[in-house]
């Protein structure tokens, strides 16, 4: 099965081509079913590859499948090659698995939309790009996928492009991503210059052996992190993610919760030897950026009123956790949290999509309430997601967050404190969301007229095709923790650290070892503290929003995202614009000027030379004669005169 891992991206590619050619004929729900089937087929192949890898010894679990030589230019030899190792197959499994469920949901969600087929066209293109990204054997293939997902993100965010806000959001996403991409590209160039190759295995090998200069490795690591910051929406490039909620909800679920935004974390894990080998302050920077972003976004989420914006900021915050893990050397924990986050965040996004549909496109939470009576399945699954993200055991989120906090404490107690505070806030704002939407009094009646409802406005439960993925994801959110249970005494040994054993060959160089010290000895205590934090947050949320015992603290500053957006806009408009104009001038005059100038010089020279073309035979004969004399002279003089 490993020889055919190219099938994994090939299925969505086939879907893309088929929908491109026959989309109109397939119609609804034909193109949707085709797209879902393609992603599901990829999932099946991924499962097959997983078992195939398992059958090999641990040291042997890396299979490279070279499709063809992509760039055969003397010193730069890059193949279109896919690498199947535990990390990439893990990514493939949850990308295709969760992706298939989301595609299924989208068939119901996008029903009736005139651009139904185009939606699935883009979704399959996205699946293709994401799979190429994770399966890439070298940086160039991964970069191809990286750019592809950026493009699809733009296409899908601006899907309803007739809406100005959507078009702008799409552009914003693309441009912000591009800034990150610059970092990735420079890292690639550096790697090529230092090692003559852009292959990950060469880069990692060099870092493990120490054959690459430490400064170069640090530079590469940090530049790749710049790319990750752009793609995974960390400070300072997180701006695009909240605005990306303009896209249809399945897009938000797939791209901005489960897959594309995790590409940054994946990339950092893929190059963990480089991070390990780089100077110590590089991973520290990563950890701090992650932690601060997590806290920052959590504070903003507290004051948001749009159901999807809360989830968007929550995603930024959870991604911050993942980078905190990466920076602390906890790659397994980062991947673990990535997987569990995919489950519960996709679940909640799909749930919010269900709510939006049921409320006839209403997205403001202040106009919802008491929906659990009208949308029981949605409510139940959403509550599962809520408990998971809040970190309540035994749901998946608890195990992964706890692991991250453990490593954070071992790395730096300040990071641990930030992580813990963020956990409290996470529980708080998620509780706020659940209470406002599903509990309390129904607040939509006063706004019924705005919905243009004929007669009674009543929210309704969604169709089975939309409910099934919700249930499936809820199940995963409940039991997902099982893939990496910590080594508590009461858990049988076979079940502990399964993900860690699986990912061992990929991360062994970079993974921090925590076998002793303050953090390790108090593991049980830390778990209890984490649970307590979650419960405190939940209790506070219920107190404020359900029981109305205390006043809600939602300062305007926080609601405006600490006016970060406004500051960036002002900067870009003012001094930023001047800088851009100067660069554009430079490009026009100097760069283009040089090119045009050389063309002008050639033309001028040609004009002078043209004067020799008199059209007169005798002149030509004269020149011929001179040429002959010169030739004769050369022959004679070359041997010495006389």
């Amino acid at each position: 099965m490993l020889e055919v891992i190219w099938l994994i991206p090939a299925f969505p590619l086939a879907g893309f081509v088929l929908i491109l050619l026959f989309g109109r004929r397939l119609g609804q729900p034909g193109s949707g079913l085709l797209a879902t089937a393609m992603v599901a087929a990829s999932f099946v192949v991924s499962v097959g590859a997983y078992f195939d890898l398992l059958s090999h010894d641990e040291a042997d679990r890396a299979h490279t499948e070279v499709l063809f030589s992509w760039v055969p230019v003397s010193s730069l030899q890059v193949d279109m090659a896919f690498l199947a190792d535990p990390l990439s197959i893990t990514m493939c499994l949850f990308v295709t698995g969760v992706g298939a469920l989301i595609h299924l949901f989208a068939i119901g969600y996008m029903r009736g939309d005139p651009k139904f087929s185009k939606f699935f066209l883009y979704m399959n293109l996205f699946a293709l790009s994401m799979l190429v990204l994770v399966l890439g054997e070298n940086m160039l293939v991964t970069f191809l996928g990286w750019e592809g997902v950026g493009t699809c993100s733009y296409l899908l965010i601006a899907f309803w492009h007739t809406r100005d806000s959507a078009a702008t959001a799409g552009k914003k996403a693309f441009v912000t991503n591009r800034i990150g991409d610059w970092g990735f590209m420079i890292a690639m160039f550096l790697a090529f210059q230092a090692l003559g190759s852009v292959s990950f295995s060469v880069l990692n090998e060099a870092s493990e052996q120490g054959t690459i200069a430490r400064t170069t490795a640090t530079a590469i690591a940090l530049l790749l992190f710049v790319g990750a910051v752009g793609k995974s929406a960390q400070l300072p490039l997180y701006l695009w993610l909240p605005d990306a909620m303009e896209g249809p909800t399945p897009v938000s679920a797939l791209i901005h919760a489960a897959t594309m935004v995790t590409a940054g974390v994946f990339l950092m894990t893929r190059v963990n030897p480089v991070l390990e080998y780089a100077s110590d302050w590089a991973p520290e920077i990563i950890a701090w950026v992650g932690a601060i972003t997590a806290l920052f976004a959590a504070t903003i989420a507290v004051a948001q009123n749009d159901i999807k914006k809360v989830l968007a900021y929550s995603t930024v915050s959870q991604l911050g956790y993942m980078f905190l893990a990466v920076g602390s050397g906890a790659y397994v924990a980062a991947i673990f949290h990535m997987v569990t986050h995919a489950f519960f965040k996709a679940l909640m996004f799909l749930g919010s999509g269900s709510v939006i549909h049921g409320m006839h496109e209403e997205q403001d939470m202040r106009r919802m309430g008491a929906l659990r009576k009208f949308m029981p399945v949605t409510a139940a699954t959403f509550i599962v997601g809520w408990l998971a993200i809040a970190g309540v055991p035994p749901f998946a989120g608890f195990w992964s967050k706890d692991e991250i906090l453990l490593f954070a404490l071992a790395s730096n107690p300040a990071l641990y404190v930030i992580g813990l505070v963020t956990a409290v806030l996470t529980a708080y704002y998620m509780t706020r969301q659940v209470v406002l939407v599903f509990f309390g009094d129904a607040k939509w009646e006063s706004h019924a007229a705005e919905h243009g409802a004929h007669g009674e406005f009543k929210p309704h439960e969604s169709s089975p095709v939309m409910l099934f993925p919700l249930v499936a994801l809820a199940g995963l959110a409940i039991v997902g923790g099982i893939i990496q249970l910590p080594a508590f005494a009461w858990i049988p040994d076979d079940l502990t650290h399964r993900l860690e054993h699986w990912l061992h060959p990929v991360v062994e160089f970079g993974e921090a070892e925590i076998t002793s010290g303050n953090a390790y000895d108090n593991k049980g205590l830390l778990a209890v503290v984490a649970t307590a934090a979650a419960l405190i947050g939940i209790a506070a949320g219920i107190a404020v929003y359900a029981k109305h015992r205390a006043k809600a603290i939602e300062p305007q500053l926080v609601a405006d995202a600490w006016r970060y957006d406004a500051t960036v806009t002002a900067f870009m408009g003012g001094p930023g614009r001047k800088a851009f104009d100067a660069t554009a001038w430079f490009d026009r005059s100097v760069v283009d000027g040089a090119v045009d100038g050389s063309a002008r010089a050639v033309r001028g020279a040609a004009r002078q030379v043209r004067k020799g073309q008199t059209g007169n035979m005798r002149n030509y004969a004269g020149i011929l004669g001179i040429g002959a004399v010169l030739l004769l002279g050369w022959f004679v003089l070359a041997r010495g005169l006389l």
């Binding site: 008199t614 007169n616 005798r618 002149n619 004269g622 004669g625 001179i626 002959a628 004399v629 004769l632 002279g633 022959f635 004679v636 041997r639 005169l641 006389l642």
Partner: protein
């Protein structure tokens, strides 16, 4: 004796050449050309190339120069050019350079190789006459080139006829040079 012949013939050649270049009347130039050709023919004889001398006189002086004169008369370009006019100032110095350069450099090459060049081997070692030797060489070793040359002549003539055709002229330029065929 050979020396006298050589000097006389060379004088004819060079006088004729200067005449072609310096005479303003084209008809006079053609006559000088005839003088040169005769001189060259004499040299051929002195160098044991008897057949070629005959062909030179018959073809070159007898046909080609006649052709030249026909055209001069036909087109009426027999008026004398004015040799003083030269529209391109650079042309004369250029010509001088080319002429002197060519002669000088070639002479230098020849003189340098003088010692290896001056051995002489008799052409008619086998005792055959010049024409027999030439014929044997032409029709055995170079027969293919010979055939191609005849094709060339036909093509040249046919092409020229087509090119200069006017609606009512059976003029003199369709006169072939008789060539070897």
């Amino acid at each position: 004796m050979e020396l006298v012949v050589f000097v006389l013939a060379s004088l004819m050649v060079l006088a004729g050449a200067f005449g072609v270049v310096l005479m303003s009347n084209p008809v006079h130039a053609a006559m000088s050309l005839v003088l040169t050709l005769f001189g060259v023919a004499v040299h051929f004889v002195a160098m044991e190339a008897h057949f070629l001398a005959a062909v030179q006189v018959i073809v070159y002086a007898g046909a080609i120069v006649v052709l030249f004169l026909f055209v001069i008369m036909l087109l009426g370009v027999d008026r004398a050019d004015d040799l003083q006019i030269e529209p391109f100032p650079i042309q004369r110095p250029l010509a001088l350079v080319v002429g002197v350069g060519t002669i000088g450099l070639v002479a230098a090459a020849i003189l340098r190789a003088k010692d290896s060049v001056d051995r002489e081997v008799a052409l008619d070692a086998s005792g055959d006459s010049n024409i027999r030797l030439l014929a044997r060489n032409l029709f055995q070793d170079h027969v293919f080139a010979f055939e191609l040359t005849s094709v060339l002549l036909i093509v040249a003539v046919a092409g020229t006829v087509v090119m200069t055709r006017r609606t009512s002229t059976p003029e003199a330029e369709s006169t072939q040079s008789n060539g070897a065929a």
